[in-house]
């Protein structure tokens, strides 16, 4: 009996070590640095200061945070609108087609994301694939400037994040007990009614973990805006990188990252509250 208990603890040790080493320590390091002073040339001095946080609340930086949140929200909404129906119908396919769809969803991940984004450039550029198609079909007359615009960045974000939404919705749709729908239809509910009262409720955890998996990374995905937006949309991620490399202000970059993380946590709490679900498909 005793041995069993000991084994249970022993088995947990690796995950504790992993978490401490790769999650807690780096985070603590970042938080500590965010309270230090920038050194004259490189690195930081061990002098405590709140200056970095004071600077974060400069309206200039707050505005960039706001822009980043806006883009993240817009991407999340679009991804939900496309990803939910996709995941739903995928969950209703026959086993054979489910496997095929899964394969198709996974294949793009075999190529680096950066290369896939450059593929979008070929589609979007002036006189590119899309442009030629539009002109050929007579919809437009002259070459368009589609690339390096806000919509181009949104398309890139949605493209990048969509699989995460599809997969989490799919996994909860697949687990659903469809006899409940039959029962509700037998009892006189319309299709819409049974969708809203049963399917949506039961797939809510999947939908919300999809939202989390979309929203959280989209706060940091600045390189999509760099590549498809021509560096013209300023997101907090690129400001952090610039502070780290060009201004050599590591403490301020750390402070910005801490605030970004806090902001993300606040949003997650908010989602949880709004949805009223206790669980986010294994995330919380």
């Amino acid at each position: 009996m005793k041995n069993k208990k000991l084994n249970k603890y022993l088995l947990r040790i690796p995950i504790y070590i992993f978490t401490i080493l790769f999650v807690i320590l780096p985070l603590a390091y970042m938080v500590i640095i965010s309270f230090l002073t920038k050194a004259k040339t490189w690195g930081f001095d061990f002098t405590f200061t709140l200056e970095n946080y004071k600077k974060v609340f400069d309206p200039f930086y707050l505005n960039i945070f706001l822009e980043s949140v806006k883009l993240a929200l817009a991407s999340t909404v679009l991804v939900t609108l496309i990803g939910y129906p996709f995941g739903y119908f995928m969950g209703r396919l026959s086993e054979r087609w489910k496997r095929r769809m899964m394969m198709l969803l996974m294949i793009p991940f075999w190529t680096s994301g950066l290369i896939r984004l450059n593929g979008w450039i070929i589609i979007f550029r002036s006189n590119g694939v899309l442009d030629k198609l539009l002109m050929f079909s007579g919809i437009t007359k002259t070459p368009l400037k589609l690339l390096y615009t806000y919509p181009a960045v949104l398309v890139g974000m949605v493209y990048f994040l969509l699989p995460f939404m599809i997969l989490s919705v799919y996994s909860s749709v697949e687990k659903m007990d469809w006899s409940l729908i039959e029962a509700s239809r037998d009892l006189g509910a319309s299709r819409l009614e049974s969708f809203l009262t049963i399917t949506l409720r039961l797939t809510m955890p999947g939908l919300l973990s999809g939202v989390v998996l979309t929203f959280v990374p989209s706060m940091g995905l600045f390189y999509i805006s760099d590549i498809l937006g021509g560096n013209k949309i300023v997101l907090i991620g690129s400001v952090i990188v610039e502070q780290l490399t060009k201004l050599r202000n590591i403490p301020f970059a750390a402070a910005l990252s801490v605030i970004l993380m806090l902001l993300t946590i606040v949003f997650l709490r908010l989602y949880k509250k709004v949805s009223g679900t206790g669980e986010l498909e294994g995330l919380f």
Binding site: W42, N63, E67, S126, N231, I233, T245, L247
Partner: protein
């Protein structure tokens, strides 16, 4: 210099280096005395710079001539190099090639060895035009290895404006047709210059004034890209671009009809310098290396390879004809270099304001 397009290549090279980098330590048995040539044989020279800064041919030539093996390690960012030198207290490496502004910091921190010029017989080949700059005013520590001068390049077929200088970039006819590099000190700098101020001013009101002017450039900006702007000019995505020297050379190589403009308001440029770290394990070999790469034929090969402006006067006549127009600084434009400025380190406040104005400008371009 500031932007090396060679990230992926660098990774490959780094792997190759780890695979065969075992020999770096035997350099510590360094040679003393004048009979360097025979004593140096079999030692290793540790060269530390960006990826792709020396043609293999030149490195092999050095080994053949002196018997010294070259161990090439690379960094991506100047800052990485400085951190590494701080860590090793100016040891481990024998030759470093890096950007001017970071060399100034390294010298200040005592990480750079004073050069004994009597050991470099080819020293006088250097073009004095690129010497005595802010980072080493008395030329005590460094020798220049190529200059980068960002210039305007445009396609006269699609751009009808006769571009002469920075101010022409503001021409409304260029709406949505201009590409620029993403280096805020350079872009804010040319705006300062277009107002008649210095690239390196610490005067916050001047910087602010330039920032306000820069915002009015936003409607003309099609994209900001630090890595491969030349591709966008070549593909026609932009009609005019302000870009780094290596990009200018690549663009002109691919399309000789493009026009290069040396902005009349004055140039802002950067010099890459080579130096010996203060505790270099094999300093004698380092002197030999500096001597070797300053031989005119060798230097010409190096500059053609990196595609930067030749900083070696004697090498100019050895540069092949296809490269001459691109990397030998034109005689009639020399006054622009003389009146030009290097981009220097400025005060933290000024630097921060620059960055802020730059981000505001970027927001405006969208």
């Amino acid at each position: 210099m500031k932007s090396k397009v060679l990230g992926l290549l660098g990774l490959g090279a780094a792997l190759a280096l780890t695979a065969c980098g075992g020999g770096s330590k035997d350099a510590s048995q360094q040679s003393t005395g004048a009979a360097a040539d025979s004593a140096l044989k079999g030692t290793t020279l540790n060269l530390y710079t960006w990826d792709g800064m020396f043609p293999q041919e030149v490195l092999d030539g050095f080994t053949e001539k002196t018997g010294v093996k070259v161990n090439y390690s690379n960094f991506d960012l100047d800052e990485t190099m400085l951190a590494k030198l701080e860590e090793t207290k100016g040891g481990d490496y024998d030759i470093v090639v890096a950007d001017d502004y970071i060399i100034q910091l390294a010298i200040k921190e005592g990480l750079v060895k004073e050069l004994d010029k009597s050991k470099i017989s080819t020293y006088d080949n250097i073009n004095p035009l690129f010497q005595s700059k802010f980072y080493d005013p008395e030329n005590k520590y460094t020798m220049p290895y190529g200059a980068g001068i960002p210039l305007i390049v445009y396609n006269p077929e699609t751009v009808k404006v006769d571009i002469q200088g920075y101010n022409d970039l503001w021409n409304p006819e260029l709406a949505g047709n201009v590409g620029i590099i993403g280096n805020y000190r350079v872009i804010d700098g040319i705006t300062l210059k277009s107002l008649g101020y210095s690239f390196n001013t610490n005067d916050l009101t001047q910087i602010q004034e330039a920032g306000d002017k820069l915002k009015t450039l936003a409607p003309n900006i099609r994209l900001i890209n630090d890595n491969n702007l030349q591709d966008y000019l070549l593909s026609g995505e932009v009609g005019a671009a302000f870009m780094y020297t290596s990009q200018v050379t690549q663009a002109i190589k691919a399309n000789p009809d493009l026009k290069v403009v040396y902005p009349k308001e004055g140039l802002g440029f950067g010099v890459m310098g080579s130096f010996i770290p203060s505790n270099a394990p094999n300093a004698e070999a380092a002197y030999k290396f500096l001597e070797y790469i300053n031989e005119p034929e060798v230097a010409a090969k190096c500059f053609e390879y990196i595609g930067y402006f030749v900083t070696n006067k004697a090498a100019e006549s050895y540069v092949s004809d296809d490269w001459k127009d691109l990397i030998v600084f034109p005689e009639d434009k020399i006054s622009l270099i003389e009146s030009g400025e290097l981009i220097e380190n400025i005060s933290d406040e000024a630097n921060e304001l620059h960055n802020k104005l730059w981000e505001e400008f970027r927001q405006k371009t969208n």
